[in-house]
Amino acid sequence: MGKYDFPDAGGHFGQFGGIYMAETLIPAVEELRRQYLHFRDDPEFKAEFAHELKYYVGRPSPIYHAKRLSEHFGGAQIYLKREDLNHTGAHKINNAIGQALLAKRMGKKRVIAETGAGMHGVATATVAARFGMECIVYMGAEDVQRQAPNVFRMKLLGATVVPVESGSRTLKDACNEAIRDWVTNVESTFYIFGTAAGPHPYPMMVRDFQCVIGNEAKVQMPELIGRQPDAVIACVGGGSNAIGIFHPYIEEEGVQLIGVEAGGHGIASGQHAAPLTGNAKVGVLHGNKVYLMQDEDGQIIETHSISAGLDYPGVGPEHCLLKDIHRAQYVAIDDDEAINAFDALCKFEGIIPALESSHALAHAIKIAPTMGKDKVLLVNLSGRGDKDMNTVARIKGITL
């Protein structure tokens, strides 16, 4: 393939992406774009970002060879990029730090965020505390219930958590409410958006901040095994952990990229959160044009996933492009398969993964036995599972 260079100046990844925003917010995203383009190449900004990642987040995150897991399932060797070991327990902190540093330079003292599983909310609350900013987190009322430990964490960190009762009371509705807050308080407020979607420059900016994952992996894998992996596997909701590990590998043609969406009760059931695998139509939501789960009249439909962090009807624009140009492949893992993978990692490796990351792991477990022992799968273990104790207990019929 030719040189991969996206997005264009207007934030387009082929036909996807762009700036589909109400006029009231256009000046805000435009200002954000200008500031980001300025600071991303600023040596002082880069140095501060690198410093925070090293001394506050604890990077680089290690890559771990899951030997017992690999042996149990047979076939390809499974390696885990341990984003779960980051401060706050997921990859979300990488992006939250980057955007908070930008907010600081833009003189914004109030930050807002949307959150699904709560990991981005926790990351944002964390950096707001770290940098002395006021923090408001919008969270779907249903997610507030199923992710209660994270709600408590955010409150401990000084954030205000606002349960969103409108619509399906999940991540997309939290996004709507955060956008409404931003429209209302645009001059004082920086919107720390959690995934590689939304209006330009967010998909590009979030990707850039998350690329630390893939950049590290590209150095670590040769150190460990003398070469790059055969495939990189990551879960995709909005797709920030996936694009962070995929992007540095895009021009490494020997490395297969596999994004794993939430299959929910199965693609055929219609109750899933897999716009790419489920062949959703192209649509416009939350400021960008992407593959989007919708009914025939263009209303956004309610999604289902066991994992709140993947329970979103859209997906970042760069994943839409990577699907169309066949550089990445997208598959779905259903709820039961994710739970099985969750159990397996607990049992064989002593690692409790997030339900989101369990989807990526489940796909690795599925394909490893079909591959030779000399093949290597690198799974982005994007977060840890402590937050999911209530959900998993409920599924297993246990009262905590």
Binding site: I19, Y20, A22, T24, E30, S166, C175, R180, V183, G283
Partner: protein
């Protein structure tokens, strides 16, 4: 000659300002929409803004969000909204109708089909909240081919350099959002609106409608002295929400009549 242009030209000649109420199509139920439109015209509305319900109305405050939810509970689709406009046109050939909504229902239908059906139904203009001019050149040209105006928003935060780009893409009229925030927010700063509208007039000869935050006769009057049209959204929808199904048409008509007489008062 477009209905929108006719209306503004006629009002200008008689020295009056346009009153543009907004209702969400299908709220409180699909049977009430056309009677509401006729009642508003009878009470002095010059142009009707008809909201197309959407599952994720990001730019709207709670009042219009709830209207969207009520309409969607009755499965009001974009096609059905166009049907309502066609029904309205059977008895009213003059009053312009502008659809206001979000991009995705139009994306799902496809530009060409939407424009064809909208033109056949008697739609005069389309305001799509999340289509800034940068993202909808093709849409604008398809609508233009079918004789439909594209109305764009300008906001207090729009930078002067951008105003020109927006008005260049616009036709029919300009909708100036008089407040920061979502629809239905409070506290209108009339002096600020006046200076912003004056600045916009430097860039365009199109009529300027002002909306967001018009909540009573007094604000309607104040705004009518600045803009060419007063857009009343959340206040109208609130009246729909607070009325029983039997009274809704009469109550909304009464509200519009009050606003009309406030605007016309010398």
């Amino acid at each position: 000659m477009s209905r929108i242009r006719n209306v503004f030209a006629a009002l200008k000649q008689s020295g009056r300002k346009a009153l543009i109420p907004f209702v969400t199509a299908g709220d409180p139920n699909p049977e009430k929409t056309v009677p509401l439109m006729h009642a508003m015209v009878k009470s002095g509305a010059n142009l009707i803004e008809l909201g197309v319900p959407f599952s994720d109305p990001m730019a709207d405050g709670p009042v219009i969000q709830r209207a969207s939810e009520r309409a969607l509970a009755h499965h009001v689709t974009l096609r059905k909204v166009l049907g309502m406009v066609a029904e309205f046109r059977k008895q009213d050939a003059e009053t312009p109708v502008v659809l206001m909504g979000y991009a995705n229902p139009i994306e799902a239908m496809g530009y060409e089909q939407f424009a064809t059906m909208a033109a056949t139904s008697g739609v005069d203009g389309v305001l799509t909240v999340d289509y800034p001019p940068e993202e909808c050149a093709e849409f604008v040209s398809v609508l233009k081919r079918h004789g439909i105006d594209t109305i764009f928003l300008l906001s207090p935060t729009t930078e002067p350099a951008r105003v020109q780009r927006v008005v260049d893409a616009a036709s029919g009229f300009i909708y100036y959002v008089s407040l920061r925030g979502v629809t239905g927010a409070a506290n209108l700063d009339v002096a600020d609106v006046a200076s912003k509208v004056a600045a916009i007039r430097q860039h365009t000869a199109l009529p300027i409608g002002v909306g967001f935050g018009v909540r009573d006769a007094a604000t309607a009057k104040a705004i009518s002295e600045i803009g060419d049209a007063v857009v009343v959204g959340s206040r109208t929808v609130q009246e729909v929400e607070n009325s029983s199904e039997n009274d809704v048409v009469a109550n909304v008509g009464k509200l519009i009549a009050e606003l009309r007489s406030a605007i016309d008062a010398k």
